[in-house]
């Protein structure tokens, strides 16, 4: 890290910079030449193709310019970088917004989203250049950037004491606010499901430091156990919920027991394999799980035994009769929203409290240094197993909710992609940070729901985000990674922070 900072701080002379930028542009040209330049098209008899060479040219010019821009900022010429990036960004944005004849002449890419990315990158360069200018030196941009990020994260975490109650209050009153139509509540329910999954996975990844790529398996186990108990045995949701959680937790133990002795990255791959195995078994064990079609007619939830029906059978109650209000199909939607909100808050409260218990402290210690923990007499296997089981249990709860909300389950819903999305939420939100995970879920799940044209680029953006976060702030955007307890209270002698 230090060596890199020095290398970056060393002023590069203009010719070197130009040479490097041209090199970057050439590499981009090579990389995009076939994949972007030639688009294969299926025709009736054989594969044919169309060409998109302008996109290739623009992509490589863009990469070269972006490299040049960052290079200028880095090597002590932020003013030039600022002017150039502002010029490019403003020109591109104005063409995109107002168009006119320029739109025909100059618009690099077919897709408007990609065109906006150009503006975005130019904006990022401009902001970095402006920051460097304000600092007055323009050198050492990267370490200063990290310090800045730390400062922002610290401020944010202080603010989050205020922000968290506000968010919760908003979440509770949300269905009664005027703008909350049915679709909005639906999306909020979806986002809350992911918030809950994120918090559940956060126990495993954020607190215990175990990278679990198969978290969706526990979600699937929860969903299927609820569906089976409810359809085959006719048990109610409130009875099934703890059962599903218990079954998911025992699956967690079952998987964890043999594999938790493995090193961190092996564990990741094995959990990935486990997740896929569960899905394949769900598909192929058709007489028990319904195969690819899954289980239909999963009972919808009731308000503690009182159904949401317009015309309940004679002699039974229904929700609107009980409360003496007009029947509305929204009641169920809002009830589902509150159900998942309650479950999610339960997860959050649980992880907040358990961090202060000995087991939670053992998780955090284990995340930092396993060998030291072993020397101190913490049993790593049991400790990890607890984290795995508890994380799995919350995944199981979320799965039951998913099944009851959808009304059907099928293996399609539990692909690796789903695990990846949940992991992206946890990583981008900051491993271990509760508010960060919630915000990440809102941004990553909620925003693409409202901007459909972005949905195609969602996973691409997640991937880029994960790489950038690992480079820039490996502990997550909003994580400051204060230990929950410290030996020396604030103000006392600060212990030297351990090198990662």
């Amino acid at each position: 890290m230090v060596a890199r900072a020095e290398a970056l701080a060393k002023p590069l002379v203009i010719p070197t910079l130009l040479k490097q930028s041209i090199g970057a542009a050439l590499i981009a040209l090579v990389l995009t030449s076939l994949i972007v330049g030639i688009k294969t098209v299926d025709t009736n008899e054989a594969l044919s193709f169309t060409t998109r060479f302008p996109s290739v040219a623009w992509a490589s010019i863009g990469v070269g310019l972006a490299y040049l821009g960052f290079g200028l900022v880095r090597s002590g010429m932020p003013l030039a970088g600022l002017i150039a990036s502002l010029a490019v960004g403003v020109a591109q944005a104005s063409v995109l917004l107002w168009g006119g004849p320029a739109k025909e002449l100059y618009l690099p890419f077919e897709d408007p989203v990609v065109n906006w990315v150009v503006v975005l990158v130019a904006g990022v360069i401009a902001i970095r250049a402006a920051l460097a200018l304000r600092r007055g030196d323009g050198t050492g941009a990267a370490p200063a950037g990290t310090a800045l990020g730390d400062r922002i994260a610290r401020k944010f975490n202080q603010a989050s004491r205020l922000l968290a109650p506000l968010l919760i209050a908003f979440a509770i009153t949300m269905p009664f606010l005027p703008f909350a139509d049915r679709r909005f509540v639906d999306v909020a329910t979806l986002v809350s499901t992911y918030v809950m999954l994120g918090w559940g996975l956060n126990i495993v990844v954020g607190l215990a430091g175990l990278l679990d790529l198969g978290y969706v398996a526990f979600y699937a186990v929860g969903a299927y156990s609820y569906s089976m108990f409810a359809t085959y045995l006719g048990l109610s949701f409130w009875l099934c919920l703890p059962l599903a959680g218990m079954i998911a937790a025992s699956f967690g133990v079952l998987l964890g027991f043999p594999v938790l002795r493995l090193r961190g990255d092996y564990l990741a791959i094995v959990t990935l394999g486990f997740g896929e195995m569960v899905r394949l078994i769900l598909i192929n064990w058709w007489w028990f799980t319904g195969g690819p079609n899954g289980i239909n007619n999963v009972p919808r939830p009731s308000f503690f035994g009182i159904p949401f029906e317009r015309n309940p059978p004679e002699g039974t109650w229904s929700f609107h009769k009980l409360f003496g209000i007009e029947y509305s199909s929204n009641h169920r939607v809002v009830f589902l929203y509150y159900l998942i909100l309650g479950l999610a808050l339960l997860t959050c409260l649980f992880s907040y409290r358990i961090r202060r218990l000995p087991i939670g402290r053992a998780w955090e210690a284990l995340r930092e240094d396993e060998t030291a923990c072993r020397a101190l007499g913490i049993n790593p296997t049991n400790t990890k197993l607890t984290a795995f089981a508890i994380g799995a249990m919350f995944g199981g709860f979320a799965g039951s909710f998913f099944a009851t909300r959808q009304g059907f389950v099928s293996p399609e819903s539990f692909t690796f992609l789903e695990s990846a999305v949940i992991l992206a939420i946890v990583v981008l939100g900051g491993m271990g940070s509760q508010v960060g995970v919630a915000l990440a879920a809102i941004v990553l799940i909620g925003v693409p729901e409202f901007f459909r044209e972005l949905a195609g680029y969602r996973m691409l953006a997640f991937g880029i985000g994960m790489v950038l976060i690992m480079i820039w702030r490996p502990r997550g955007l909003l994580a400051v990674r204060d230990p929950t307890i410290r030996l020396h209270p604030r103000g006392g002698p600060e212990p030297e922070p351990a090198k990662p």
Binding site: R4, I38, K39, T40, F274, F462, P474, R475
Partner: protein, 305 residues
């Protein structure tokens, strides 16, 4: 017996392909100790480049098959190695010395980037090519008329793999690059003190791994004739299983593991059930990691504090 022989041939073909991908995993793991999760997608990129190159050649009217094969092989290998180099440069090099899960998370991100990049630029539907190399020889024939076929394509795959493996073994054992690579594997800091350019060696490791994955991509394109943007996931996991089975970090192990995985898959789908063949591969991964984490040919890993 004939059925067994046929499954053996099919399994070996599959195994050769898995082995070529597995070398990329095992080399990278050997030198910087990370699981290159994006390697499966590098393989997918190779397959796509092969498809695109075939389509262009078809458009240009190149019908002489050996020439087309050589051109496509070169294109796919070169462009795929460019991807391997870039991925290392962009996503892994800045993370050296970061906390231990950072490279893996970054690799997972890179895997999404690659597969979705291809999905966006080439479309989500799978691309199928007409079979180019048909025919083969009948090895034996059973009395009830079941032919054991060894197709020309399978022969090409065997020969190419054999040539590549020989060349690759020579490269690692005899050349300066191979020596530098083995030195970095043992002790990166010491190697750099002794004048080995560590960054360059690591870059070249990725380039070689990606080139072999590119060849594997071409083979899959020819063998199955269908590619889509998601093939890298499953192939990547199986090749990783092969690398672990053979002993991660060991090059002959990767090839051995690949062939074993290919055979297991072929026999499993031949004799038990096709549906559970992927489950079998995952189960092997789990079992090997639990009972013999060092694999068949690997050295035990000593954790230093």
């Amino acid at each position: 017996m004939e059925y067994f022989l046929q499954q053996l041939i099919n399994g070996l073909t599959l195994g050769a392909i898995y082995g070529l991908i597995a070398i990329g995993y095992t080399m990278v793991y050997g030198i910087i100790g990370m699981i290159n999760f994006a390697h499966g997608d590098i393989f997918m990129i190779g397959a796509f480049h092969a498809v695109i190159a075939f389509v262009i050649l078809g458009f240009l009217g190149v019908t002489f098959v050996p020439l087309a094969l050589v051109v496509v092989l070169l294109t796919a290998t070169l462009l795929t190695s460019a991807y391997g180099w870039t991925v290392e440069r962009v996503a892994y090099r800045p993370l050296r010395g970061s906390f231990k899960l950072a490279p893996l998370i970054s690799a997972i991100g890179m895997s999404f980037v690659l597969s979705n990049f291809v999905q966006i630029s080439q479309g989500a539907r799978n691309k199928s090519l007409e079979p180019m190399i048909q025919g083969g020889i009948v090895v034996t024939q059973s009395p009830d008329g079941f032919d054991v076929q060894l197709s020309y394509l399978q022969m090409i795959i065997f020969v190419t793999t054999l040539v590549l493996m020989t060349g690759f073994t020579l490269l690692i054992n005899r050349t300066a690059l191979g020596r530098a690579q083995r030195a970095c594997e043992q002790d990166m800091k010491m190697a750099s003190l002794l004048g080995v350019n560590v960054d360059r060696t690591i870059s070249l490791t990725f380039v070689i791994g990606a080139a072999l994955a590119g060849v594997a991509g071409l083979m899959v394109t020819l063998y199955w004739g269908v590619v889509d943007f998601f093939i890298g996931f499953l192939a990547g996991i199986k090749a990783f299983t092969a690398a672990v089975l053979g002993g991660i970090g060991s090059l002959p192990g990767a090839m051995l593991g690949g062939i074993l995985i290919g055979l297991i898959e072929a026999f499993w789908s031949g004799y038990f059930s096709v549906e559970y063949k992927d489950v079998a591969a995952f189960a092997i991964l789990v079992l090997v990691l639990i009972f013999r984490p060092t694999g068949l040919l690997g050295r035990p890993e000593v954790e230093k504090v």
